[in-house]
């Protein structure tokens, strides 16, 4: 459908685009190991000094720990609420469905800056002091639509008769969920957790308004540090680690997807064999 010249041009475009997309990441990796104190060319020499410096900088490491804790709490809350919402929306009759769907997708479109100042106002009206758990709840609500969009298609693809069979065999609703539905949902729950965690770990707007003074999250610390040349190399080093870990997770999930696809294909071809054997038997 596309001529040979067109295909070649599109290949070139694709390769250039991917290079453009990875350029800033490559720059960070490059300067994480550069012995020069400023990220400028030419490269001076190889060092791992910035990594050791970064890990002995307790301001930086405690910001990382804070963000990790907030991320875990936010992902657990968002995923749990995502399961509830998915089960609710999967029912045959949902009371107030349009309102519920609208509300659940609302956090996707409300600009984070407006949401952040709104939360600030609300907390002030309730006379709450800034706290890390407030950031975690804020992150949970912006991650909830992602959790739902990951979990719901998986729940819909499950065979409802499995759950029914469990209940026919005497399992309570809860037992049927715990023993049948939940294990089948696990891959989706894992994806949901990863997506929610990375959303929270990178979130700046809400955190910048709600963090208690002296307790910045990692992005808030990063933002402040990007302006001070003294700690910039350390931030680049840690940033490189964060990026490599994210890319590893993306790569592993792709391998997992391929593995699952091959297994499903294997199973399908097996079932085709069975049905063709049946056909043979009937003819």
């Amino acid at each position: 459908m596309t001529g040979r010249l067109g295909s070649s041009l599109l290949w070139v475009y694709f390769v250039l685009m991917v290079a453009f997309l990875f350029l800033p990441l490559a720059i960070l990796v490059l300067f994480a190991f550069n012995s020069g104190t400023t990220p400028t060319l030419p490269i001076e020499g190889f060092t791992t000094k910035w990594f050791t410096d970064a890990f002995s900088n307790t301001d930086l490491t405690s910001a990382l720990v804070r963000s990790a804790a907030i991320g875990v709490l936010a992902s657990v809350v968002a995923t749990a609420l995502g399961i509830m919402a998915a089960i609710g929306l999967n029912a045959k009759r949902v009371p107030g469905e349009p309102v519920a769907i609208g509300a659940l997708l609302l956090p996707l479109v409300v600009p984070y800056i407006s949401l952040a100042v709104g939360m600030l106002i609300l907390l002030q009206a309730l006379k709450f002091k800034n706290a890390l758990w407030e950031i975690a709840l804020g992150h949970a609500v912006i991650a909830l639509p992602f959790a739902l969009l990951v979990i719901l298609p998986r729940l819909r693809s499950l065979d409802g008769s499995l759950n029914e069979a469990a209940r026919d065999l005497g399992a309570s609703d809860f037992a049927a969920f715990r023993l049948v539905t939940f294990p089948l949902l696990l891959p989706a729950l894992l994806s949901s957790f990863i997506i929610c965690f990375s959303t929270s770990f990178d979130e700046f707007a809400i955190a910048s308004f709600l963090y208690p003074s002296g307790q910045p999250t990692y992005p808030v610390f990063l933002y402040g540090g990007a302006r001070s040349p003294a700690i910039l190399p350390q931030l680049i080093a840690i940033g490189t680690l964060v990026i490599v870990i994210s890319l590893l997770i993306v790569g592993l999930s792709e391998l997992g997807r391929r593995w699952a696809e091959r297994r499903i294909e294997g199973r399908n071809s097996a079932s085709v064999d069975v049905s063709s054997a049946d056909n043979l038997a009937t003819t």
Binding site: P24, P95, A103, S114, I121, A125, P153, A205, I243
Partner: protein
Amino acid sequence: MSRSTSRRIGGQGLWVWPPVVFVLVLVVVPLVYIGLFSVGLRSNIPGTKTAFDLSNWKDFLFGENNPFRNLFWHSLLITVLVSVAVTIAAYPLAYFLSFVARKNRYTLLLLVLAPFFTSFLLRVIAWQIILNENGVVNSFLWWAHLRPEGDSVTWLIYSNFSVALVLFYSWIPFVALPMFVVMENMDRRLLEAAEDLGASRLTSFLKVTLPLSIPGIIAGFVFVLIPTTGEFITPLLVGGPESQLFGNQINSFFNDSPDWNYGSVLAMTLILLVLILMLVFGRFLSADLRRPAAEVS
């Protein structure tokens, strides 16, 4: 259906409400408070008399040459231009993945999406390092003797250019995705029919592929337009005083020079803008949870 099962199903449907209440408390209530602040019914300064007062709205909407309203239009123009540029740049990517790279298309798609899964803030900081006055580009030019040492290209950073470039960069992967999904779901027999009937490659692209990919193009455009309307991190890091966006003005009304009431007028304007965009373009977005969503993987 027996009575007991119908009751059970009704019970399952009720599970949707705890998460909905969570969203109402953490999103809708804050938005209501922004509304109250914007009309002067609440104040952050204790002891201030509060009363219904539209003067901030009047000033913002009708005040002569109001700087915040000018900033709003300026920001909207930049965001629309960036969204158009991103959409145009992402289309060939999606086309390549769907029509040229048939076999490994999901792996190559992941290559395009991968940077999007890494920290946004880190990528903006990386651009700051690249574009800085003594950053990668300038220090390279000096090192290669293409420019005298210390003489930096000034428009590279703290300019409308740097803000637009970084926004453009950040959103390409995300915009390519909905276009790719639409192209994957396209009925390829229509293209074969066009070619069988003697259409040239260009004609069948212009008359078949392009019109059929319009829903994806619009979805991609909205995917970048909506999140960038409230953008303020990019201008904070790579923008100068002249290239701040509307989101930055909201940020400073709640930070540097606090006026929560006026800031709420701007925050509310942004929310209304997004709601209008959703009303206009919402039907092109495929996050429809009522029917089984098309698998995007």
